[in-house]
Amino acid sequence: MTAITSPKTPPAAARPRSGYWQHLKHVMADNPVTGLAFGLFALFVLMSILGPALVPYDPIVTGVGPALQPPSGTHWFGTDHLGRDVFSRVVAATRLDLLISVSAVAISFVIGSVMGAFAGYFGGWTDRITGRLVDTIMAFPLFVLAMGIVAAAGNTVENIVYATAIINLPFYARMARAEVSIRRNVGFVQAARLSGNSELRVLFGHVFPNTLPPMMVQISLNMGWAILNAAGLSFIGLGVQPPTPEWGIMVAEGANFIISGEWWLALFPGLALMLAVFTFNLIGDGLRDLVDPQRRT
């Protein structure tokens, strides 16, 4: 035995496995705002799963009540111009809105960060081409680009998702590039090379996971932004097709009723939208803490 250092080591089996669950609890308890955000997020997820089954009225059936009724005991959020139940619609819309934002952000995160990671890691031509590509996308006012894509490809949910994904791409590409390039020659990367990791493995096994914490903040911001973007598209008539309930379209339609005094049409979906974006924005720090091993104790 190496005699110089031989602390009493407990048997290997006794290693405690600090679970992710534990860590989540810790992160949530640590910052009340984060805890709240996670709670709200869970609520939204729950609503998107169970919502359509729980709502009192069918969200797309017209005339479940008299048209344009203010909020009441039977229709909590009132009814819209076609006599649909606003509450049911707001709840039922959760699924689609989450779907749009989560899938759009997921796509842009995966593609964007892989692009950026390659650019940052290998540099040279990869970097130059990616850089120009990203510049090209960024040079469009992003909302207008989304409009163009949706107008060109047709306003289906998939196209809205793709358009949103494309305009979010540059953020991830740039961020991944920056985060990867500052790490491409740090000690643990060199060590990984010495351990016989191929370049790709070094990139995706060692470098890339370390860029996740700041990315999480970006993801959370973008999820909120994606919903707003879809709402904006709805406002200019390029949103999802009716009668699908979607917050953006509901606010956009309801906006026409504000002046005539039927405020509930825009307000409730607007509040839901705001709460969702708010949650996404707040959840960022928590997500970062969650994926950051430094925050583990």
Partner: protein, 507 residues
């Protein structure tokens, strides 16, 4: 705005000051109306509700002091008004009229098509006999010729000015007139900020009609509908043109705003079943669809009960009034029974499309139709299609199986409507309806005077066929709604649905 200035707001945009130019949009026609004169115009009548409307049956002089139509009805001779001058002071001559008419039939596109409706197709038909006498020769007599001269297209342009600006590439001075109107009309364009506003200034020397009540009229473009409503409610503007039905209904009940809602002649909001789509080739399927529509609910929720119902009429056709209610009503039993006789007992899937720019009425209507059709097993998915695309696939390519449409003809005769909407290949027959009998009837009737003994039976038969074959299912006749501050009066409804600012005056 002071008492000599009126402010009009609307949701569209004026994209040209020249109605003949290709690409000029509908909102720009108002320039032709307010700034140019035609040879003739329509008179005015008072409707049942006390509001004013143009009178199709009463053609009156505008630039032409008088006219004569030859015995055989093929030669029309107009005598121009003495003292009528263009804005630059030059008298209006028959040469100007000829140049202008030549231009309208030569430029192609919409002006040419509209001229053709009045049987004006070639410059040879127009002749300036002398400075004040203008003659038109028709290939055959038509009841549409004279009224067509009162539409916004056959305007009289200051040919001297225009010719000066014409070039070899642009012999009709479209570039110049696009920005610089040169007319003899009641108003001049004082200022045009495209995308923002158009300011009319009264032509104090106008000879072709009574002096307009306002010295200045500002037409502002306000894209957001709720902004327009706020503006008129707050009294910041004088007139809000073409307001939504809901606003019309609600504002009518408020003090401080006057609302005039006039049913748009000759216009029907309809659901069209495309005969190129297999299930709709079976007449019974189309009829089943017509029986499965919750008309009343649509009328209440999409039209806020503004307009004239076009369903639930009597079984036969006993009048030639157009539009008239179809015999269909909401009757699921009948619909199901009809459908069960066909190959599509279990229904089918079909997209239900409408144009984005019609969304205000088409969307709620489509949603209700969707539910109605769902009850007889026809499953629809709703498609909202943006403007440019709409024209192409709906009207030009005629590819949409089931769609909402809103055609209304300018010339107020049923046969004219049928010509555009029921003859195969014509623009507003977006559903590929083509029946030889209908074609023959329309062809016979289109130019026939209305007092011809064959006229009424022909039209009756057309209407019968339209209801029997029902490719176009009428929903309701819409209204044109205008909100006004009480300080303004004199508003008159016109078939072209643009704001004629000439008769407006301060209260």
């Amino acid at each position: 705005a002071t008492s000599d200035t009126a402010v009009v707001v609307f949701g569209g945009t004026v994209n040209s000051l020249d109605i003949h130019r290709s690409g000029t949009n509908r909102d720009s026609y108002q320039v032709a109306i307010n700034c140019y004169d035609r040879l003739v115009t329509f008179g005015t009548k008072t409707l049942d509700d006390g509001s004013l409307s143009y009178d199709y049956d009463n053609v009156e002089p505008e630039l032409a002091e008088s006219w004569e139509i030859s015995e055989d009805g093929t030669v029309m001779t107009f005598t121009l008004r003495e003292g009528a001058t263009f804005w630059d002071g030059k008298p209006v001559t028959a040469h100007d009229v000829k140049w202008s008419f030549d231009r309208a039939v030569s430029l192609g596109g919409f002006p040419t098509v509209q001229m053709k409706a009045g049987r004006f197709t070639s410059p040879e038909q127009f002749e300036a006999v002398d400075d004040r006498t203008f003659r038109i020769t028709l290939p055959f007599p038509s009841k549409l010729s004279l009224p067509d001269l009162a539409t916004p297209i056959p305007i009289v342009i200051n040919a001297t000015v225009a010719k000066e600006e014409a070039t070899d590439d642009d012999p009709w001075a479209t570039d110049y007139l696009h920005r610089n109107p040169a007319g003899s009309g009641a108003f001049k364009v004082n200022r045009w900020d495209p995308g923002q506003q158009l300011v009319y200034e009264r032509n104090e020397d106008w000879a072709s009609g009574p002096k307009p009540g306002f010295q200045r009229v500002i037409v502002r473009e306000i894209p957001a509908q709720s902004t327009r409503r706020a503006l008129i409610e707050r009294g910041n503007v004088g007139i809000s043109q073409n307001i939504p039905n809901k606003d019309a209904k609600e504002l009518a009940e408020k003090s401080g705003v006057k609302v005039v809602s006039t049913p748009i002649e000759n216009c029907i909001y309809s659901l069209c079943t495309n005969l190129n789509f297999e299930p709709f080739q079976d007449k019974r399927v189309r009829q089943a669809v017509a029986w499965a529509i919750p008309y009343q609910a649509i009328f209440e929720q999409a039209a806020y009960s503004q307009g004239v119902p076009m369903w639930g009429g009597i079984a036969g056709v006993d009048s030639i009034a157009w539009p008239q209610p179809s015999p269909y009503d909401y009757n699921l039993e009948k619909a199901k029974e009809l459908l069960s006789q066909t190959d599509y007992k279990d229904g089918f899937d079909v997209p239900l499309s409408f144009s984005l720019s019609h969304a205000d009425w088409a969307e709620p209507a489509a949603l209700l139709i969707q539910q109605g059709l769902g009850k007889i097993g026809i499953r629809t998915t709703i498609e909202k299609i943006p403007g440019a695309n709409w024209r192409t696939i709906a009207l030009v390519e005629k590819k949409l199986p089931l769609h909402m449409e809103n055609f209304g003809g300018w010339l107020n005769t049923p046969d004219y409507y049928f010509f555009w909407a029921y003859i195969k290949g014509n623009l507003f027959n977006s559903y590929n309806y083509g029946d030889p009998e209908m074609a023959k009837l329309v062809d016979e009737t289109l130019d026939m005077p209305m007092d011809d003994p064959r006229y009424a039976p022909n039209v009756t038969r057309m209407i019968e066929m339209a209801f029997e074959d029902i490719p176009r299912i009428p929903l309701w006749q819409p209204t044109l709604n205008v909100a006004m501050s009480p300080d303004i009066q004199g508003y008159e409804y016109w078939f072209h649905r643009q704001m004629d600012v000439r008769p407006l005056k301060p209260a």
